[in-house]
Symmetry: C2
Subunit: 316 residues, 2 copies
């Protein structure tokens, strides 16, 4: 099949490149460690010019050969590549925003190879405390087709997002730093000292953590319940190898307890790495959220739709 | 004045030694970095024996010369020195517990020098999620004389404690990992990357953090509001040098929001380092806590009272 589009999912710690064919089918894909905070630094010749720019080098490593073989392929990218620390800043669009309309707001940067890279703008919410996303708007668009009018899309990760979508418009979203808090506490706090890694998922410990977060004691907040990861160990109620999953369940439970009440009645779609989504699905069931499903290939589908909306490629 | 007692406040990261005279007046004091996690390791001769035990070495460095000069002085110690990772484990006492009665439950360890060190037991609460303290029980006792029957004692720190005391008995307490969470997030998370240290206290930023924690948005929990430390920076509403105190106010605000409602009507006494207590006092005022006062020299007073209760020394 003939390639139609190069689609890049370019975040803080990784860069995924997709060569898409007719109707957005994935022909080839690659994963590089060249996130915007981990760019290559060794100068190399690109299009006959010695280049030391990290973005150019990463871009070339990701899809230089694809462009060499098919020079006219359009390129689209989403994620932190469009941030102030990225290749070129794509200004945020304000909520409420029609997700498909972001295809009319792509920001262009001209690469050394002479190819234009079309960067998807992030979304900002400025009602109350400001909130931002870059990349998740594309995933949201990628899962929308076929969904009900009003949905809540959960994107678990270092900085989990919960996005409310009504009629194709992002109306509100929240961010929870759950994944990063879990990582830094496990690695750098007292709690990590008594933890042992477990080869298997410690379901009981995870469920117990979720339960504590939702209990009366959980209402004191996570700064208080965190200490139980230590004291349950001290009192031999939690083995060292149960402590990581207890902490995981506790933090995810607090995240879910922070969702608005109306979320309980909305269909929920989870987008992200399968093992993490499985944890969230389990915790959501224990928290009384009834309608939960999983979505896949959200980013590449979203990028394809945005490229179609921008006229970079044909829908079929 | 004649020395009466050697009192040690021996925690995880430091060891404070006091030589106390009649009525517990402080004659001399020292501060060493030899907390139980930072013990000396270089072997040295103690009482004619070459010794490489870290606890013996630290003990000798703290008060060996005092004991040499006055061999009969009794020694009392509180803090993590009595934990499972300490010199010798002093079993926890259960809540509710009469604080003064801990003087009848001192745990003895015989030092190389032939001197008995009397270790104060910690306190455990086993109703609901377990909770533990070591050292704070002594500070609580040190501030009790002259107080009302029912008080709430706040001990801010890495692991802040809030202790309810009724008629001299600890009836309940909570722990919040506020200080440690602040430290690990500032040092190891994304939030630290945009922070700049400030030479002066950024009062407006601190107050704003407290306010956010208490707002409707604060009800989503600290995992959610944390991200505002980043987005307020991104949107130029918070300067890099304001971000540390914003985060401090935010976390302390969430801690105070987690205190039980009845705490608002209790007299509150704060015990701890003056700059940290000043932050809590400021935040408490903004949270509607009316009766707040500060206490000093809580540890040495508490150790003195326990030694008197144990008959190690005379009250006057």
């Amino acid at each position: 099949m003939q390639a139609q589009l190069i689609a890049l999912d370019w975040g803080t710690s990784s860069l995924r490149a997709y060569k898409l064919g007719p109707a957005g089918v994935v022909l080839e894909q690659r994963s590089l460690a060249s996130g915007i905070m981990h760019l290559p630094s060794e100068a190399r010749e690109i299009a006959g010019v010695l280049c030391s720019d990290g973005f150019e080098l990463a871009f070339d490593a990701a899809c230089g050969d694809w462009l060499e073989a098919e020079p006219g392929l359009p390129v689209i990218a989403c994620g932190m590549v469009g941030s102030a620390q990225g290749w070129s800043e794509a200004a945020y669009r304000n909520t409420p925003v029609d997700v498909a309309s972001l295809g009319q707001a792509l920001h262009k940067v001209l690469s050394l190879r002479g190819v234009e890279v079309h960067i998807v703008p992030g979304v900002i919410e400025q009602v109350g405390l400001p909130n931002v996303m870059r990349g998740e708007e594309t995933q949201v668009l990628g899962v929308l087709p076929g969904l009900e009018t009003e949905v809540l899309i959960g994107l678990p990760g270092s900085h989990s997002k919960w996005v409310e979508v009504v009629g194709g418009r992002i109306t509100h979203f929240d961010t929870f730093m759950t994944g990063e808090v879990f990582a830094v506490l496990s690695k750098h706090s007292l709690l990590g000292r008594t933890q042992k890694p477990s080869e298997t998922f410690q379901a009981d410990a995870f469920d117990r953590g979720v339960h504590v977060a939702l209990s009366d004691e959980g209402e004191r907040g996570v700064l208080s319940t965190l200490f139980s990861a230590r004291t349950l160990g001290l009192t031999a109620q939690l083995l060292p190898e149960q402590q990581p999953d207890y902490l995981s369940g506790l933090l995810i439970g607090h995240e879910l307890a922070g969702l608005p009440d109306r979320a309980k009645h909305l269909p929920i779609i989870l987008v992200g790495a399968a093992p993490l989504c499985a944890r969230y699905q389990r915790a959501l069931a224990r928290c009384g959220f009834a309608h939960v499903s999983l979505a896949q290939e959200a980013t590449e589908r979203g990028l394809w739709q945005l490229a179609v909306a921008a006229g970079l490629t044909q829908p079929v």
